[in-house]
Symmetry: D2
Subunit: 345 residues, 4 copies
């Protein structure tokens, strides 16, 4: 019998802040438990597991802190699945890379929902949908062309992407039918990879000065904190729309607010320097700005996809094949990442 | 000399409610005036023009009332350009069809802007963007997954289109990157034409019962007034999003409001049974509903495209070729159309 | 009863050179005969039909010669379906246009099969597939890069289309995945229509001088006979590939042969000035040339689609709606068309 | 000074069977030599290099044999660029993986040219283009529909891919405009990755039994040699087209020939069990078969792209970023690969 309890591979489960119920559909959860021996443990209690369990564990679900000593005992470990999304600095990566133990993330599940929200925000800014609805509620709406004084089309417009990971790609795909001219600044990617994806590799300067709509979808690293500042906003075209989707740390948020206040640009954001924002923060009543409370990705359908990805990659690794669904931490970049993990789902 | 004043073709211009300045870019206007002899006249004063002008006029810009007697004198007339969009019942169409005088409309310019607004509304309903922004203003926002209790994706969803003219096609194109499953009900079109456009021809029943998102983009005819009624809304899936873009007459608006009030569906509309709506109308504070004040199409960029289309088709007809940009009135359907023209741009 | 024999609309059937069995699938043929009263007649015997039949006939399948007298008696006639493809000069078109009787063609069925053959020929020329296979048969093949001295890619190349009717559009669609830069010369179409189709409107000169691959897909008219002549070929880039798909009359065929013989361009053709070509014609052994014996469109699957189009348009016209599948003859252009009909299928 | 000779990173160049001139455009070659210190050496003479050169070398261009001892001295080595395409079993991979030294291949450059040839072969088989041209040369051509007795369309057909690496993806992209229904069997890939690429993951059985056209684009591994055998061919639909593009070892070639001889399927191949094939081999005159002499990928434009990829990835690694253009050898699969390298370009 292939999968009897004696021979089931061991999975140590410590997926906080997620939970097994959050990330697995009912039938996927059944599959997980029928194919693997699931040892549930609190993230900071891994070292309390008995030696045979550690020695035989094949996968870890979640990214709990791991010391070199504990890892040294985990001879069968093949992969650590970070199901939060942001890689943590809580384990000796060099050791893992040497041994060929993968650390992977399921963050790609958020690309599509965040891209849809981002496109929605871009269209709302371009057509003033949110403020026009508010005016309609109070009887102050403007009809027909009178309500379109600043309206513009996304179709055939110039779109700039800052960053071109999964999220940037998802936005580019959603824009297919708009026949937009998409320029990308991403210093971690070679130009040919962008060209192959039918977008134009370019400089940050060019993205800032030529775009009608800019999407910020870059990860935070130790190099790009606050690099979108007052100077950057001043370079944008008057009336440009700026949509911040990845992390607020990339942006000088006060400068962003000023650029919108002055009427130079319009903006929307899903992320903030402080979350939740203070009740009295001026962004709450900023005209020309659309607010979303870090909810772009956190859809149930996205969480459930995490479980699918984990199961698919476990199935590959069970067959001595490399994981293909989740994204692997890279030796070179893992230490540069600075995005903070979420505390709530 | 090819275009001297003696031989310039005559264009009678009566484009109300549009104006030449509204629909022509500066350089297009110059082209119009340099290539044609423009006779500007009020729409109801065409019969006051002198006989030689009428006899030599090649085009009419606008769709002013025309009697059989006046038309009988217009031996050189090739085309009447309705630049409002809705065909008027103010001329003897049979006579025009017999003589091969085209009546064409430039309404296609609105397809792209209306489609973009429609897609925006669909995304806003799916992600609760408008109400979430309002909550954020008042400090009542929900963060992360807490704010996504009803959130759904448009990607890979089931989309239903009621009508598949220029607007339906524009929506289908914008949806390309969403890989949605698009079903269409349009009783005036043969199934193969829909299949060729990569959408699935189906019944109204099927669109109503199976769609996650429904776009209403059909023209009003003498057959479809109010056909989307309480019964139709009750057939929709709970939580379905309903976006009304073409004309309010197609819908029983009170029934729509009830369906939203009950929480059965969410909806958005750009058109209303009375425009402007009364100040105290309940739609103004309806939860689960997004309001747009008939502003989906009336963008300056759309109006300016009208002039381009007119010039391109005049150029073709000047060369004895048929018009290809504007849409021709058809003998069979011209009398069935019931959409009222706009009074303001 | 709606469709009893008494009330079935009459269809006069004279589809030579096609036949009902050629153009209707079995189940479509059943539908045709169950819904209509089919009167089969030889094309030149229409006037032998009795007066009541003529007076009640709603459709004619085929384009038999029709005199003004016969037509004058056909009070119920709505549409003449040319199922060959090339409009014939055998009826008083002005009378038909006045009365609103449609003359339509089903030629669009050939667009996809001809486009596929055209793309195949372009790829074969670009990669020397036909001659390389012949060399392999005789043991003279060149392996690896040695066999690719003139090989080029179609992906990202410059493609020129001369003509942009159904066939040109079908080619553009097949090229989607090649990300080619498509330029079009079509003097009967307005530029915006081409732009909307994501191709670039341009001059003949530009197509000739800048294209890596040129597809000739224009109809023959009284204006374009032989316009692709020695001068035109001399303007093409050395090594350009020239694919002739529509009609040989557009081309000075001797000049084409010389351009290929000289090694200046490579070419392929599906059509010839004389069909069949004489047994000793030099084109038969011309190196750098691929020969197809006017077989690009004549697939059974294409013929069967004709019947579907006819049934769909009859269904629309039965409901007093205009035909939408078949292409209508236009007053302006019908007299300019010069493509000869085929004699065999 | 950033790039003076003292500080230029060292590249050991041993790219046989390629050469620097084959894989670098003139301007890329200049860039290579200006930015790096190029040490050219014969592949089997690496160990003759002096110790400081080895100790400082950052990249190796080519995949020469490397012993553990030599590697142990190469403290600065970051990446070995295999520019042939097939990974060789000539170095201690485990050591390289441990140290984080990449072994990468530039084989992706062949995907597009091979896909184009593959599509061409599929269309040629579907329309009998090669044999029809041969018949035309000898005066035996069949005109019009007579020449199309077995002709089928690729548009809307069922296409099966065996393998879905770069080449499979390139074929799927070229097929975009054909709106084909693409099924894929690839046991190394998770289903969600295929679904995301808009193809349908399925079993080998399903690909074999349901496809109109099958493309074989899988790598040879120690598991799939000869797995497409007589049994597999017998399962294919009569008249199916079979295109072999990756490696002949996957197929029982004699069984393939028999399946074509019998008329059950039609086939084309770019690869053969012996290359060059014997002069008297029966495949040379096999009817229903198209022969290409392993020339699908070996285009100059493809070779030149290799140099671009190498430069782009060197630029990334110079900045301590991971390579993104070339494909990395994987611990799990490197030992399973069995494709032999080419001996000539």
């Amino acid at each position: 019998m292939k999968n009897n309890q004696m021979t089931k591979p061991i999975v140590i489960s410590a997926p906080e802040p997620r939970s097994i119920d959050l990330i697995f559909e009912e039938h996927s959860k059944e599959k997980l438990f029928s194919q693997y021996d699931i040892i549930e443990v609190e993230a900071d209690k891994i070292d309390s597991l008995d030696a045979p369990t550690l020695a035989q564990a094949r996968y870890i679900l979640g990214q709990p802190p791991l010391s070199l000593e504990v890892l040294a005992n985990m001879q069968e470990l093949r992969c650590i699945f970070n199901v939060e999304s942001n890689l943590l600095n809580n384990m000796p990566y060099e050791f893992l890379f040497e041994k060929g133990i993968y650390v992977v993330t399921t963050g790609a599940v958020f690309a599509e929902p965040v891209a849809e929200l981002g496109l929605a925000l871009a269209l709302c800014l371009s057509r003033n949908i949110v403020e026009a609805d508010a005016a309609f509620r109070t009887g102050d709406e403007l009809w027909g062309g009178d309500g379109n004084s600043q309206a513009t089309l996304l179709s055939r417009s110039k779109v700039g992407l800052i960053g071109f990971g999964d999220l940037g790609r998802a936005i580019a795909r959603l824009l297919q039918g708009f026949r937009a001219d998409i320029s990308v600044f991403d210093p971690w990617l070679p130009p040919s990879l962008l060209t192959e994806a039918d977008v134009t590799p370019t400089s940050l300067e060019h993205v800032l000065t030529s775009s009608d709509v800019i999407f910020v979808v870059a990860s935070v690293t130790n190099e790009n904190t606050g690099f979108l500042n007052a100077d950057a906003f001043s370079k944008m075209k008057p009336g440009a729309r700026f949509i911040l989707l990845s992390r607020a740390e990339i942006v000088d948020f006060d400068a962003l607010i000023k650029a919108v206040e002055s009427g130079h640009i319009r903006a929307a954001s899903d992320v903030y320097p402080i979350e939740p924002m203070p009740k009295e923060h001026k962004v709450r009543n900023l005209k020309g700005f659309i607010r979303s409370a870090h909810r772009a990705g956190a859809l149930d359908v996205a969480f459930k996809k995490m479980g699918e990805m984990v199961l698919e990659d476990m199935a590959l690794m069970d067959r001595e094949l490399p994981p293909m669904c989740c994204k692997r931490a890279e030796r070179e970049t893992v230490s540069r990442m600075r995005s903070k993990p979420v505390e709530i789902n």
